[in-house]
């Protein structure tokens, strides 16, 4: 989590996705639980109540992260933390984020019931925000817990309706000085269970993914300016067609990404044409380029190579190219010792598993900067996520819960 971001977005922004823009989405279906909305408040208070019923000590911090605590018998112990985020994208699924919280609660409750109080304190967290779907920032929950965000910056962000994050937070009952500071300096480890949001486990038939690293991401907006002209009266040889130039760049991105090989991915996901009229040669195009890799040097070299090709294409076609890097998140390696434990646990349970890079960003990447961190995936049907069609089978969810519970047992109950 570092460097290169815009002032309005000091960590990572996923951009502002308009309602109804998600893949596979049907308006009105799925879960929409944006930060500091009524649905969000309801979910967090529901979870707090259930935590208490289950015998965990529930508390909120100042930004609305919800913790459920199972006090350890060793008063000097630091905290073993598990969990994920409670917010969703618009019309999202039931599993992204929520699964890691539910699995964490279930793990703590089953450990408490089977083994009584742990040696070292266990906590489960329902982080207030990760998706960046309401305000132009993301990881607000884990970012506040790990010291990446300054809580006072909440006044500087606003949602599309002009409501500042500060106002929304206060209207939800948070943001008061009297409430606990969100920063955690007492963490011994963080473990996050999550759905894969990809197709790899489903295609290989493996039951658990053990994350070796979360990829670094760079996101650019590129703008190409040519000359809008009449589609009928401008000969092919007299055109400065910004869209034709973009086509050549898009193919270069795909070709070079395939040539470079996994785990690199390069995506042109958003593209807008001006004037976007059937009978006018496009005068300007803007498009986004999203490049990810688990190795910072490889990521950097690839971006340099590709942008060099873009510049050559623009020059050849007399198009003006501008390039804006608006996200630059470094890769986040997971803890090797914890990942090794996950491998041993899967092996002992006879579960086919795979060590893999996470192509998506997760709260774990923020925790990895402050404490040993591990992350495990369960398969997602057809890789679909951020959609009402998101699905992981009960068996897959139970697999992940079993592995998570065993790791938490080792960390919190075993002598070391």
């Amino acid at each position: 989590m570092s460097g290169g971001n815009k002032p309005q977005s000091p960590v990572v922004t996923t951009g502002q996705a308009p309602a109804g823009s998600g893949p596979n989405e049907e308006r009105g279906r799925g879960v929409t639980r944006l930060l500091y909305t009524g649905a969000w408040r309801e979910a967090q208070h529901y979870l707090a109540e259930r935590m208490r019923e289950f015998g965990l000590t529930a508390r909120f911090d100042r930004v609305g992260n919800l913790y459920g605590r199972l006090q350890g018998t060793d008063p000097a112990s630091k905290v073993i933390l598990t969990g994920s985020h409670i917010d969703t994208v618009r019309s999202g699924g039931h599993y992204d984020g929520a699964y890691g919280i539910a699995a964490g609660i279930a793990a703590l409750v089953s450990l408490k019931e089977r083994f009584g109080p742990p040696r070292r304190t266990l906590e489960v967290v329902s982080l207030c925000e990760e998706e960046g779907s309401r305000f132009p920032l993301s990881y607000w929950g884990s970012g506040n817990a790990t010291g990446v965000y300054d809580l006072r910056s909440a006044a500087t962000y606003a949602d599309p309706d002009g409501v500042t994050m500060q106002a929304a937070m206060e209207a939800s009952g948070f943001g008061a000085d009297a409430q606990p500071d969100p920063l955690r300096d007492d963490l011994e480890a963080f473990v996050e269970a999550h759905i894969e949001q990809g197709v790899i486990l489903e295609r290989t038939g493996e039951r658990i993914g053990i994350v070796s690293a979360i990829v670094g991401q760079r996101r650019y907006t590129l703008t190409l300016e040519g000359e809008a002209n009449h589609a009928g009266t401008t000969p092919m040889t007299m055109r400065q067609d910004a869209l034709a130039g973009t086509a050549e760049m898009m193919l270069a991105a795909e070709t070079e990404a395939l040539r470079h090989g996994e785990p690199l991915v390069a995506t042109i996901g958003r593209l807008n044409v001006k004037p976007n009229t059937p009978n006018v040669v496009p005068g300007a195009v803007s498009f986004t380029l999203d490049v990810r890799h688990s190795d910072e040097a490889e990521l950097s070299a690839f971006c340099e190579l590709l942008l060099g090709q873009f510049e050559a294409i623009a020059a050849k076609r007399s198009l003006k190219l501008t390039c804006d890097l608006w996200m630059n998140a470094k890769p986040a390696p997971m803890d090797e010792e914890l990942s090794g434990r996950l491998q041993s646990i899967c092996a002992a349970k006879g579960m086919a598993h795979r060590t893999m890079v996470s192509g998506a960003g997760h709260d774990a990447q923020l925790f990895s900067a402050v404490c040993p961190t591990a992350m495990l995936f369960v398969p997602s049907r057809r890789g679909i996520s951020h959609s009402p069609d998101e699905y992981s089978s009960p068996e897959a969810l139970a697999d992940g819960l079993g592995v998570l519970t065993e790791l938490l047992y080792q960390l919190a109950y075993e002598e070391r």
Copy 2:
């Protein structure tokens, strides 16, 4: 003007361009004179008044075409007609259409003043509509004059606000049974002066373009469906990226059009991506393809070739391709005898001129089906049209007027 069009658009539709979508456009600048609006009514009545002042007999037909007549002395003579359209695109320029009307009025008035009444009747027409900027059809003026449109169809078209063309026409004072039928069966020739709307004359330095043919046009909407997926978690080799497939098609279109050579042009002007989000692999793309050529066989062969390549690209990438042909206008050759006269006139005046294909559609193409028709172009600065920046110099306008006047003199005054 034939075949292949959608029922709601029996001749040619330029599609419905949203306000502010034109090239080089600044909202609020330029001329917006859409059919049957207040600005349109004001312009037509202003012209009628000026025609009368200048000694022409002015009359409207039932759809609002305005004619200015200079009666010929030969009672058996048919009518030599000149003119163009009074409507504009949104935020258009001052010259497109209006120049041909103004030049026609000026030519008739100067002929009358210099030579008195002509042998054969001369008329200038301010056609009510050509651009298709308000209702989803175009050439409403020349289409009614030449019998392509049935006036009763006006009830079946509506503007984006739901106002039918019939209602708009009546509110403007037209459409009544008592008003003259717009169909003309008494035309001996039609001559249209127009700005080039292209860069060729400016680049070659020639002063007059003589149109040999107006291109045929085919417009398609192509839709590519792949699978929307997470940009981080979907390996390059597991993608069905609709936008990458589109990029390959766009380059194929450009490459094949350049290989085919002039006067063929192929344009992908409108492109929309779903979900159009930086971090999602595009699941679907739709784009328009506009292909023009003055030769129907060449046009047809090129489209067949290119669509075959598109199909191969889609198949290779496991994308679903659908193709919708929504405009299919045949090429319209101009009259050789009249064009020969224009060449001789330019030569006699010492004006550098060029015989050229019109890549844009014009009212002349509808008249060419019912009477010998000629068309002449004057240079457009930087080829810009459909924009407030549209400009042709006073010298260029005078050149066109001089040539037009001479041709009308030959046709209406000389013995034959």
